[in-house]
């Protein structure tokens, strides 16, 4: 069931670093974008939970990478450096969103929620229930879990992306799954055969 990631095609970090050493900044950045744009976007999606904001954050992160690329000193690996820039950008966006939320008018919010409630209800199939349960998990579990599956079950990649030790990622994954299993049992959806049939 578990699968190792296939070796990634395309540019490697070492190739990018060689280009940087040679002063080929634009070529290096092109390869950074080829290699990391999807990962950066996924990380932003996982942290921000909003595709539009994630797109903006991913673009701003890559613009920052472009501006700082000439000063990259290889003290950290290229991936760690890029993910750190991305995380910082996302944290800024989260703080900004929190500030905006504190300014919003509760009456308007209530009206918007009411308008959403009278709209068409989403289809509640069982995978949608599972998705909702994942969304309801504590933030640290949800981020690890979503990125784990986005990155094809690579703990190492998730640890790098979130700046966490691999042991912490594994622990959070275990706890997230345990919490999901428990909630599914409460909902009467804890039968393995049921899920195996659903994902056939």
């Amino acid at each position: 069931m578990q699968q190792d990631n296939p070796p990634e095609a395309g540019p490697r970090d070492q190739d990018i670093v060689e280009l940087l050493r040679g002063g080929a900044l634009e070529a290096a950045f092109e390869r950074v974008v080829d290699r990391y744009e999807r990962k950066v976007y996924r990380l932003c999606c996982s942290l921000l939970r909003d595709p539009d904001q994630a797109e903006d954050a991913a673009q701003e992160s890559l613009v920052r990478v472009w501006k700082a690329l000439s000063k990259y000193d290889q003290r950290a690996s290229l991936s760690t450096w890029i993910y750190t820039i991305t995380r910082n950008r996302c944290l800024t966006a989260i703080e900004r969103r929190r500030d905006l939320d504190s300014l919003s008018d509760p009456a308007v919010e209530h009206e918007a929620e009411a308008a959403q409630a009278v709209g068409p209800q989403p289809e509640h199939d069982h995978l949608a229930v599972l998705r909702e349960l994942v969304e309801a998990l504590p933030e640290r579990f949800r981020r690890v879990l979503t990125l784990f599956y986005y990155e094809e079950r690579s703990v190492t990649e998730v640890a790098q992306m979130l700046g966490l030790p691999e042991g912490t990622v594994k622990t959070n994954l275990h706890r997230a799954r345990a919490a999901l299993g428990e909630r599914l049992r409460v909902l009467g959806l804890g039968d393995p055969q049921f899920w195996l049939e659903k994902v056939q």
Partner: protein
């Protein structure tokens, strides 16, 4: 590559859950025009960010300070040189002119020379003070 295989339980519910999660947590596709938007954002962004601007200003400030320091040291060296040169010249002048002064003005002429020097010094100081106070009056 490290995976969570060693960490994941082998129970049937865990296996089923893993497959179900893999089905429902699919990576979001990158927006189609992401690369174009990124190029546009890079083109729009100013060539220098705040950190670069700060570094450039700090460098400029350091250069100005170094230039000031160099000018100050040069001025002090010139002043010191002028003083030493002036003292030597005055000493030589007095050494050669003292016999003539003594023969014309008597033995007390030796005491007249420091008095003349002090008077000249006082005159220069007074002139400098007067110029400064005149400048100070011009200031608002």
């Amino acid at each position: 590559m490290s995976t969570a295989a060693d960490h994941q339980g082998d129970g049937p519910i865990e296996q089923a859950l893993d497959r179900a999660l893999a089905r429902c947590l699919v990576p979001p596709p990158l927006p189609q025009d992401f690369r174009q938007q990124l190029r546009a954002a890079i083109a729009r962004s100013p060539s220098t960010d705040r950190a670069q601007l700060r570094a450039a200003l700090e460098q400029e400030h350091a250069q100005q300070l170094a230039e000031l320091q160099t000018g100050y040291v040069r001025l002090r060296q010139r002043t010191l040189g002028g003083l030493i040169g002036g003292a030597f010249a005055a000493g030589l002048l007095i050494t050669f002119s003292l016999p003539w002064i003594t023969s014309h003005f008597g033995r007390d002429a030796v005491f007249a020379l420091p008095a003349i020097g002090a008077a000249v010094g006082l005159a220069l100081s007074a002139r400098s003070w007067w110029q400064r106070s005149a400048l100070a009056r011009l200031l608002p």
